[in-house]
Symmetry: C2
């Protein structure tokens, strides 16, 4: 009611600002108009934000401001935040390369696939939280399950144990990645691993030895496992138990 802007060539101040902002876009972009907001760009920006600040800091507002818009604009392309989370873990699952089944090396193939998934989860801090919250209805999750299923069947594993082991493995990979992500939170980077381990041993041995005799005496075993040794160990247990030909 106060000040319309329909008189001759003048534009509103906001429009002027957006035109200026549109000047220094990417000069080689075929669309100098604005910046079309698509689901792919949302996922891309969201993953970049998660990679930098972690999944806990991923909010619709941050995605929107990174895209130079308001939060309401995202809901035209994404139903929920949960829906966006599904898309994120879908993208991560889609990056996992599935090998052609080799009956002689099915076990290492399976561990390699889940290692890829774990690395994707660990690259984006805390995103496995979304992997656990979202029931695996995602098509990309199905793709991984299908690939592992093929490897297992090629290896001679019966269908029933294979199906259950696949389910358990996905759960374990997600939970393991989440635990590692949360444990790395106070730590600076990948360094200081043995230092953290010494401190963990110290804390364990600080426990009352009467109530915790085994944990205090076996603190070394409890904190052992360089790198992803524990990960490989557990997956080995899971898939060695369904081996058709006993090693």
């Amino acid at each position: 009611m106060a000040a319309r802007n329909s008189s001759h060539g003048t534009v509103s101040r906001d429009q002027w600002a957006t035109r200026i902002a549109a000047l220094d876009e990417s000069p080689s972009a075929p669309r100098p108009r604005k910046a079309p907001i698509t689901v792919e760009r949302i996922v891309e920006v969201a993953l970049r934000l998660v990679e930098v600040d972690g999944f806990e800091a991923l909010t619709m507002r941050r995605i929107a401001t990174t895209l130079q818009t308001g939060p309401a604009s995202l809901y035209a392309h994404v139903r929920n935040k949960a829906d966006l989370d599904d898309l994120l873990i879908g993208e991560l699952c889609a990056r996992v390369a599935l090998p052609t089944p080799d009956p002689d090396h099915w076990q290492t193939q399976v561990i390699d696939v889940y290692g890829q998934l774990r690395d994707q989860f660990l690259r984006y801090h805390g995103i496995s939280h979304a992997a656990l919250a979202a029931s695996p209805n995602n098509l990309d999750t199905f793709r991984i399950n299908e690939g592992v299923f093929a490897i297992l069947l090629a290896g001679g594993v019966p269908a029933q144990p294979a199906a259950w082991a696949i389910d358990a493995a996905y759960l374990y990979v997600s939970a393991y990645s989440l635990e590692v992500s949360l444990r790395q939170k106070p730590g600076e980077d990948v360094d200081g691993r043995t230092l953290d381990r010494d401190e963990a041993i110290e804390r364990l041995q600080m426990l009352p030895a009467r109530r915790f005799p085994n944990m205090t005496s076996h603190a070394r075993e409890l904190t052992a496992g360089e790198g992803h040794e524990r990960f490989d160990f557990t997956l080995g247990l899971l898939f060695q138990g369904i081996t058709p030909t006993t090693s």
Copy 2:
């Protein structure tokens, strides 16, 4: 500035209301004064709220209003919401009964312990979310680990595989409980399990058979598992792989 209440014996309206409310407390309580707010009461109320409405609906404000107070009053007894979550899963872990190790039945003993933990998690919808978010620094978690460790060592399992299997088992139990909780969300109660299974089979077979040949042909195996059959299967894999005496 508007209406003080320091004149003679009159009390404020709020004070009067609290006095009236204090009348119909528990008549046999030794403290007719007010209602002392302790950590135990907070945990008790929080668990009751989670049992009714699920963990997602557990907020500090709801706990406070249930205790007839404001949200700020809780922070005198609890550092964070995360701290409260730790207390909750600590209470749940404390309820698990640990048997005296029997070398002849160590495997069933271990599965029984984790079955108790799973049932506690499933009784409170979505609380395993907190179990995964909180790194197992809790003393009650240590207690379970200590108990299982004792069972495993009594069974003749070497310390290193025992420690790693304990870690993996706790992770799996939490993730499994969380998945079951989230899957039960739309369902009414425990009923309708086979109906859900038929629907799951139908959806699986709706997938494009060219890209998902194994999942479509083995939909029955993928959806199989009455009750906690999958749970027992996975824990069996985990602990059968570290058995000293091959069955």
